[in-house]
Symmetry: C2
Subunit: 556 residues, 2 copies
């Protein structure tokens, strides 16, 4: 555009005064009063920057504008922090002045990328696959036992709406309604107090289809992610790997394995079957007892030594461990061979019940973090490992009432066809048609094929979960009114985006997030409301007896 007359609007980024050009003299007083981040309109002529002053790193680094007129839209007053990417700010300050924080190049990129990814998802679903975008209500009825639901008082005394945790019931009703392909970028609500990196409101890509099986939903989602995946992150490859829940727990000790690195759990039970080591023998003598290990590759022994008590493999192939004297050379050899251990490696061995796997699963992830802290590359930050985990148990033993079963996910999940008969005999053994989508060790989605027969749904609610089916009368009646077989999935959009942009926190992909205490630090919501104003909602506040215990939880 060199030589052209242009008008630019924007924010002042840097101020430098070294113009000796007389033509700009009349602008000088205006320019001298400017502050960084003020908003101006400049009209002038594009010219090449003087030789030696070009900046090839900037898209516009070879040109400049010779200003002919300047209009100041707004002078920026003193800012609480400099809006430069290299200036570090506290999270609290960033949140309080979010409108300034959002001017950073990182947040600009995150929000714009989010918009583009969602747009591509919509194109895929709506234009390419005939899905219907339908908005479902957020003022709904309370779920029985929905302890994490927000309530909203209505103008009728004692009656409350609830903000739903997901559109689950509505999406199933839409299938009954003959909308055979539904989707919604849905706002969901969960009142979880102050869990780190959770938000009281969050967004999910909500999908439901009729006349579909598990594999149909899975390949749809694979296509959806491939289509909407940002080009700059490189391609993702289809189909994603699939693993059963049992395999995930056996090999990784967790139901959402990070498969970017190995260090799998290795079963040593048979090696130690006839051992004399007391804690190993004791574990193996229990039903369902295990001895398992993970092998941490060499290189950072010292770090580990300081933190854990472990079996280290010496250069000569012997073990540096209290266990050493207790196990025979033959067992040692088997141990090294089974675990593929090499000199310098560390073996972390655990023995016990099924929970041992979870423990080693945690240790595996912590080992990876420790190694990375020491500069060893374990997980490539530029790769994206998608994984389906399937064949989850349909029911789990209730934590609070061990004699009762509760849904592993939700009561609408259908059993695997080959396990359906077990519903009526051994429900704890039934696997569900549930599937989780895992990305780099994070759960980014979950879904299932749903029960579509009223009789089966009623049996699960009443006989297995011991819940009152009349609370779901509308859903049971709907299933009896010509409900097609159906299933769907919900993807956690905030989490998915945060992994795409390599951010630790979902707060970095949300324009105006709440603090981890659920506060909006900019406007200070939630806020006090007078008893007088609350009267029209027919409620009053129950103040705790000791106000001091409460003031603690009002901080950030």
């Amino acid at each position: 555009h060199v030589g052209e007359k242009v008008t630019l609007c924007g924010w002042v980024q840097y101020l430098r005064f070294h113009s000796s050009n007389t033509s700009a003299w009349h602008l000088k007083s205006t320019l001298c009063d400017l502050t960084v981040e003020s908003v101006i309109k400049v009209t002038g002529t594009v010219r090449c920057r003087p030789e030696g002053q070009e900046n090839k790193l900037m898209p516009t680094g070879e040109i400049e504008i010779l200003a002919e007129s300047v209009e100041v839209y707004n002078l920026c007053q003193k800012l609480p922090f400099e809006i430069k990417d290299f200036v570090k700010k506290s999270e609290a300050l960033r949140m309080q002045y979010r409108y300034l924080d959002l001017r950073s190049s990182q947040m600009q990129r995150n929000l714009r990328l989010r918009s583009q990814v969602v747009m591509k998802m919509r194109e895929f679903l709506c234009n390419m696959h005939g899905f219907v975008d339908i908005e479902t209500p957020t003022l709904f009825k309370r779920t029985p036992g929905g302890a994490k639901e927000f309530v909203v008082p209505s103008r009728e005394p004692g009656r409350f709406y609830c903000l739903p945790q997901s559109p689950q019931q509505f999406k199933q009703l839409l299938m009954v309604a003959g909308i055979d392909r539904y989707f919604q970028i849905a706002r969901c609500y969960r009142d979880e107090g102050s869990k780190p990196d959770r938000q009281p409101e969050f967004t999910q890509v909500d999908i439901e289809m009729s006349f579909v099986e598990q594999t149909g939903i899975m390949s749809l989602v694979e296509g959806l992610l491939q289509h909407s995946w940002p080009a700059e992150l490189g391609p993702i490859h289809l189909p994603f790997n699939t693993m059963t829940f049992e395999e995930a727990m056996r090999d990784y000790g967790v139901d959402k394995p990070d498969t970017r690195f190995a260090m799998k759990l290795i079963d040593l039970s048979d090696i130690f079957m006839s051992t004399d080591v007391p804690f190993l023998r004791s574990a193996l003598s229990q039903p369902g007892g295990y001895v398992q290990a993970i092998c941490v590759p060499s290189g950072v022994v010292r770090t580990f030594k300081e933190k854990l008590s472990l079996v280290q493999v010496r250069e000569n192939g012997t073990l540096n461990s209290p266990l050493k004297k207790l196990i025979s050379p033959k067992t040692t050899a088997e141990l090294l061979q089974r675990t593929g251990s090499r000199p310098g490696d560390l073996l972390l061995i655990a023995a016990g019940s099924l929970h041992t796997r979870t423990l080693l699963g945690h240790l595996r992830l912590q080992s990876a973090e420790l190694l990375e802290c020491c500069g060893v590359s374990v997980r490539d930050p530029s790769v994206f490992h998608f994984l389906w985990v399937v064949d989850f148990p349909l029911f789990l033993t209730s934590e609070h009432e061990p004699e009762n079963l509760e849904s592993a996910h939700h009561p609408f999940t259908a059993p695997l066809p080959e396990d359906t008969h077990l519903l009526y005999t051994e429900p704890q053994k039934v696997r569900g048609q549930h599937y989780d989508l895992v990305l780099n060790g994070c759960e980014v989605g979950g879904g299932s094929i749903r029960i579509h027969k009223a009789s089966e749904q009623r049996y699960v609610l009443k006989n297995i979960l011991k819940e009152d089916p009349t609370l779901l009368t509308h859903l049971l009646e709907a299933l009896d009114s010509g409900a097609p077989p159906h299933g769907g999935i919900a993807l956690g959009l905030d989490r998915l985006l945060s992994i795409m942009v390599a951010s630790q926190s979902i707060r970095d992909v949300i324009a105006f997030p709440k603090s981890f205490r659920g506060h909006d630090l900019m406007s200070s919501a939630p806020d006090l409301i007078s008893e007088e104003e609350l009267k029209s909602y027919h409620i009053s506040v129950i103040w705790p007896m000791d106000l001091h215990t409460c003031s603690i939880c009002c901080g950030f």
Copy 2:
């Protein structure tokens, strides 16, 4: 597809048993057990329908499937009503069994059209014009005096979130944040009790831009509507007509005129300036007194006669009216000429203050309805008259405190540049940079250029509106941190869609609407919550003294 083997899934619409084909014999028992609206899968071969049985009105009316196998996914039990378009159901029954009502061809069309229109809007804004789709919070802070806001108790005693009536503050903060083109299909909340055809939650197309003027927003919206307008409704023509608020009130007696028909308000004040008719003279002697009329075309005189006392123009040009004797032949001639009245027409004359216009405006719409009831075509249901109304007053006299001014729309609207100086001297005379979009006499959108200078915003809040500016500290601070000039608009998506599909109610374009009392008749929300469960929200219910007064408001 004749001759091809196909598999179909769907709902049984009609049952007819007259097959003599032996190959279908083994299916007969399955088929005989079927009920209408059951869900089945049929595999078979496509063949032409027997001669004489074709139905050219159906897309598939020339073929049928010779079934080889049938799978019954779900038998439909007895339904509360037949799902046939010709079966009329009560609104309450439709709402209670919404999942069945949605199977009607009308509701299927409405929901699918809505999805397509919204998708086209997104394409226009996001892909063609670089807008960024950003989700703003729905758990926010209470607006001072926000009587229509829903409150949401948090887990901190006495502290409440609010569900916002619009993302107004957030969209302005996004402009300060350097997102220069924002849009969102935003869920909004308004607690209006039981106003007919209002919903406690509704959706608006929310748009905001930086460095823009009124005409920029208006032409953007015109392009948006043209791009997303359903082809089957015929093209809409740009630019839309524009009318000032004063012109609208003067000619139509309302700020959202239905311009599909004339019957404009006609000023007769000068004709009656020296009249002897007492009520006319009395009106004209007041400052701002008017005599105005509308002329209702002939043809349905009898209907009107029964309902109103009016001036009818006789065939001979004299008046059939009590006024007749009181006005001179010259005045009568002027009256007929000014109003363009022809024999058989009716003149509705009103005299009084400015409110007369509003009264005649109502009468004009009621006349149109009456005429249409009598079979006279007044408003063509297939035309769409878009109209911009501009130059609204910025402030109105408060209804409750006549000495105070309140915002005509909201306190963030900027004054017209030529009226800005009046802010400090005669604020009641200031016109705002506000624009309403009207379609066929319904307001379908409203927006404004916003105040972007903190000092001006503070002056409006504190000195004109007498509000406490500290409640909006975050917004005022933001304006002082480099806020660009900005403006935007919000389109009422539900209302816009209902006009597109020619429905009287926005409930017909919402999948799961609430009743006019705000109830979900399917799940019966809002519902009672026990005092025990409310404890975790630190609230208790204030029950009214007389429970009987309350039971009235629990119906549909």
